[in-house]
Amino acid sequence: MRHTKFALTVMAAAVIAGCGGNGPSAGDTTPKVKYSAMVSFGDSLSDVGSYAVGTVKALGGGKWTINGNNTAKGADLTGFNWTELIAAQLGLPAPCAYMTGLEGDASKGFNVPVATNTACNSYAQGGSRVTNPVGPGNKATGSPLGALTVPVVTQIKNHLTKVGGKFKGDELVLIMAGGNDALENLDELKANATKAGNSAGQTAFATSLAGQLAAGATNPATAAQAIGLAIATEAARPGSTSTSIVTAAVTAAVVAGNTAAASPAVYGPMALKAQADATTAGNKAGADYAAAHGPELVAAMAKAGGELVALVKGQLIANGANYVVVNNLPDVANTPSGLSQDANTKALINAMVKAFNDQLTSGLAAEAKVQLVDVFYVSHDQATNPAPYGLTNVTDTACDLTPAKNPLGSSLVCNGANLKSGDVSRYSYADAVHPTPFNNKLLARYVSEKMALKGWM
């Protein structure tokens, strides 16, 4: 019986142990790697307040998302971007902007002296490109904002100068750039294509109108020349309008013997046809220009991607960085900005993004000290399959970007007071290209997961 007693005692002990029931708790929340600091390079997607000065600050802005803690309106409206969430997850201090200021229109409050804060390690600035110092919003583009757009190459140089040329080795380095290389190049292409289209349109208009009017003249060949000259002369005169150009052409046609042309019933349809010809020719010329110069943009993006790879290897890793997280470019064609473009432009954007990302993949995927995060994959999946991500809208902007509500038409001054009505807290995009705090959290989660895979978090 001694054995029986023993067995029963053990069983009873087991039952009691089982009833000692403890509820859930957080467990071990220590990150796998203890980082001394987080250093962030890049653009608006990582900017934590480089331009939170002057009027931008007064308008309740500073970050390129829905600014401010608006969790009272919606739990996801935290105002944080992904870099802030990663820092918090690692128990590091909240990132702050190394450089602040604006070089824009003083009368609008966009001219604030540039200041540096050496205690801060977030170098990312809205508008920054990889190596080109002029990005969207820079004063050199004519923007009244006067964004500093210090390129990543200089951001890294500034940090290395600050720390004496070397990383300690236990810093987490975040880098995400290239988006502005795409946007600025596209803006320039669009401007040049429009210029080419307008020029071709004007020529087509003159040729069409002169030809039609000359057909009824005594000597069509000389008449066409005379009418063409009249159109060119009037078009060159400051203050000329399409009506005044038509009038000058008609006058020249009458002189050349086409007296019937003086009647609006005759020249009116001719002018309309000339206009239609001009539109057709203008569109074609614009499209031709874009098609001809698109490959240059793709090549420029490949170059920028290669430059970023060189910076990561030659400036970060070579100078002692051991933990470098590199985010590739997201699915720009599926941002509200990209979605507003025609099919050809979308295809061009995709080719540009791919050219950039391919460079990162071929240059960095095998690099042990780099975790390359395929943000393109996840942002593309979000655009096509939003529900599992919890996204309620992946095509519209959460911010009301009308001039009355948002003087910059940008998330830079978007906050709880100028959102669109309804619950926009789980929209993908705050403005045409920048994610909401919720989407920033999704990005932070994706980056965290990749860091965990690498054993870095």
Partner: protein, 226 residues
């Protein structure tokens, strides 16, 4: 796994040391059988995906654990018996799987699966070997759910540490085993139990994940008849 095998090996040695004996006490009507041994529970997980907001395809897996097992059986007739199986809490690790395979341990949980079986034992009550089959009900109770930095990083980076709770569930279990007479009242017992267990883990981020755990338990034990 090595350690678990050692447990089993020790029991086998113990059984051998006791020596086989014939003409020992039978397992017949009105007798009690108690046993003590080790039991390895290996969940055969079919995991659902995390609720939104998630990375689609993110699932979970649960690791195995081995703990002492105790049971008491009562012979209702010479062939029909009922057995209550108890054990120390099984400590299982929860892993990321699917799209998040490789992120490591998301959390740990202790499981207590007390099970009451109705059994049929083959052959005569004094047979050297008595195979048996059983059907039972398991009450799977979970406790001490512990999150991790990885869990928080995956569900709410920068947020409050994420915790979770697992639903306690009734489940059906099927058992197949055998006793081998060792010496007088002593016997060795080997059993395999398959349990159909569905449960849901609820996270503090208002998300949940459903999973069929369907564990297979393999036990080796020494028993005493009285």
């Amino acid at each position: 796994m090595k350690i678990r095998m050692q447990h089993v090996a020790k029991l086998a040695v113990l059984a051998a040391a006791m020596g086989f004996a014939l003409g020992a006490q039978a397992q017949s009507k009105g007798q009690y059988l108690v046993k003590f041994g080790v039991n390895q529970i290996t969940p055969k997980v079919k995991s659902g995906e995390f609720d939104a907001p998630t990375l689609p395809g993110s699932t979970s897996d649960v690791g195995a654990d081995t703990q002492p097992i105790f049971s008491g059986a009562y012979m209702i007739t010479d062939n029909f018996s009922t057995e209550l199986v108890l054990g120390l809490p099984y400590k299982h690790k929860l892993y990321g799987d699917g799209m998040i395979k490789g992120v490591g341990v998301l959390g740990t949980v202790e499981a207590l699966p007390p099970t009451l079986f109705g059994q049929y034992r083959f052959f005569k009550s004094d047979s050297f070997i008595r195979p048996y089959v059983g059907l039972g009900v398991t009450y799977a109770y979970f406790q001490r759910e512990r999150g991790s930095s990885t869990l928080t990083a995956f569900l709410d980076p920068g947020g409050k540490p994420v915790t979770f709770e697992m639903d306690a569930k009734w489940a059906a279990s099927a058992q197949i085993g055998a006793t081998i007479k060792l010496k007088e009242r002593w016997f060795a017992d080997f059993a395999v139990v398959k349990t159909k267990l569905k449960t849901t883990a609820h996270f503090s981020t208002n998300q949940s994940i459903k999973a069929d755990l369907d564990p297979v338990a393999v036990s080796a034990a020494i028993g005493y008849t009285f």
